[in-house]
Amino acid sequence: MRHSRTYTYRPARAAPRRADGAVPSLHISRMRLLIVLVAVAAIMLRVGIQLVTLTGETVELNGTSVNLRQMARNEVNSRQVIEPTRGVIRDRAGNTLAMSIEAPWIVVDPTTISDARAADLARELGGVLGMPAAELEALLTDRTTRYRVVRRWVDPSTARAILESLAAGELRFSGVFVEYHQRRIYPAGPSGAALLGAVNDEGTGVAGVEAYYDDILRGRAGILTAEIDARAQPIGIGQQELRAANDGIDLELTIDPFIQSLAERELEQAIAIQSADGGVIIVLDVQSGAIRAMASLPSFDPNEYQQYPASVYNLNPATSQVYEPGSTFKAILAAIGLQTGRFSADTQVDDTGEIDRYGYRLGNWNRMANGLLTPGRMLYYSSNVAALQFAEMIGTESFYEYVDRFGFGRPTGVDISAEATGIVSSPASAGWSPIVLSTNGYGQGIAVTPLQLVRAMATIANDGVMMRPYLVERRCRGAECVSTQPRAIKQVVAPDVAQAVQRMLVESANHYAPVVWSEITGQGGDTWLVPGYEVAAKTGTSSIPNGRGGYETDGVIGSVVGFAPAKQARYAILVKIDRPRRDPWGVDTAIPVFQAIAEQLMRYEHIPPDAALAGPGQIAGELVAAHP
């Protein structure tokens, strides 16, 4: 028999109806209430314990152990690195040579793009980016990764169009992302590339000033630790910890845009005419040591430096490559001899055109004898035979002592990375023999950097005081700037010695002036290299070592190093042309370049010409009185 139950509500204890007829208040047993409360508390405690246990558990997810609490925290908490902006590099006129901007990358997540959509997206995106649709479709359907860079450094307007489309909720670019990364830009392109260097994709300077000053240019990254929302933006009311980024320091170089442009233009023309392998031009401020121009070829575009061989962008030919200075070194020889007192300006040696030393026959470039020569005439005729005799008069110890004092064989300390020291043999060196001294006298068997040589010449121009060459004029953080103070290193030779050599070099320069002027004036004799000014210069034709103990037979380096004006000089100039094809001595190529630069510099500095310093057929520039 099946029993049925009937439930009826019956108060536990019937409340007696009051005599006045009022409804009695509901009375709940205290015990029942307590039981209910305890039950609820127990359930809540159990739920709480379960939650705590769960968040502390480690579970297997996609084959890796994950702590749930840590996972939840990672979802909400974010540690963002705030990249500092790399410092700007400017020339001394304030023109920007290197700067960093945030440039867009286009990135896709192929796992969010179906095969059906890939073709349409490839067509759409390819049209915007200018990429073949087939190539793009292959990228979009390769689902081996969730992050694929489609194109780096796209045009900002293209990135904006994609972003606007995504913000508007349009599906045509769904799965496509725009990321911004810092990019180093060199607005002037290859101009000054060798001295500026470049920055790699990791933001590290790889050459030139960029590498030398990398620590202060790059700045210090900041860190933001915060709770983030679904858009990965920090939540304002959440906990935040911010260590602000420290942007890099801006550099103002000593480079003068006019002089740099002038040097680059002249070098390009000379190399193009001669089909030469390359060359270097350096213009140094004699009185401060500031480098006003440093042009070199072959060059590269630092915006795309990876497309060039490392030997091109890693080495600055002006500071990292050495060569034998040839006859330009005779000016140093003359200064050493006069300073040591081993000979005077009137001392003569016999130039026989050729001379035998230690089993070798050494001679002048044309093997022609010039007779008795003073140091001044030695420079004038560029006599090797006289130079080696003067070197021998100086003696090994004094010669190398002063070669060292002039800074050869050691870095100049210029603020560019990878500076070479040069090669100077001395009696202490392995394989040294007395003939090395003889050949060193006329600049062979010794290797220098172009910067070392022009600094030595600037020392003579600066009455014997050697200045430290430098490239950074000021370092600025915002409006606060620290200027580089020119630093005199030492008095290498006495002022009277330097001035004597200055006079000799003016005659030497004028001796080569017909290379420029003979066609204009119709006269082949000595004249003023730059009409209106005394300019000092020494030419050189250097043989190139072949690496087998001898010299190449089919190429030379033609060079000129000097300064202008000769008295109270402003600029020291070095011109070096590597392997000119149509000029067997290189000098006919280098002299016109030197002359053009010296003349332009005198105008640029508003130095008035002296009308007396003009030969027949030359125009020095007219000087008119302010109040006739």
Binding site: T96, P156, P608, E622, H627
Partner: protein
């Protein structure tokens, strides 16, 4: 309907009111709970309002940060355009294209101002 009217003297009335006041002011358990609930609700409302306001400000701040990033990018792009336009080689090339060229030697005149009258010449005459 019968009305029981009893006239009280003013002094007696005041005494009666005073006695009744204590019973009005005395809170029993239920009233206390209600008051506490109301106070709690008000405080929650206040907190909610403050939190909401902070969240709104935080959101605005985040939006401003995004705008700042966009503006900084635009500034970078404009600075780049300026730098490219100011590059010396570019200016020289444009000048050459316009037919400008450096002065030749015979075109140069140098004026010696060393003996000139140092009195400045007024640029604008009345």
């Amino acid at each position: 309907m019968a009305v029981n009217l009893r006239r009280l003297l003013p002094l007696q009335q005041m005494r009666a009111s005073r006695r009744a006041l204590a019973s009005y002011l005395t809170l029993d358990g239920g009233r206390t709970l209600i008051l506490a609930a109301i106070a709690f609700a008000l405080m929650s409302l206040l907190t909610l309002a403050q939190t909401g306001r902070s969240a709104t400000l935080g959101q605005e701040l985040a939006d401003l940060e995004v705008q700042r990033a966009v503006l900084l990018r635009e500034r970078g792009d404009l600075s780049l355009q300026l730098a490219e336009a100011q590059a010396f080689r570019g200016i020289a090339d444009r000048a050459a294209a316009d037919g400008l060229r450096p002065a030749t030697r015979d075109q140069l005149r140098y004026i010696d101002l060393s003996d000139a009258d140092p009195t400045p010449i007024p640029l604008v005459t009345p």
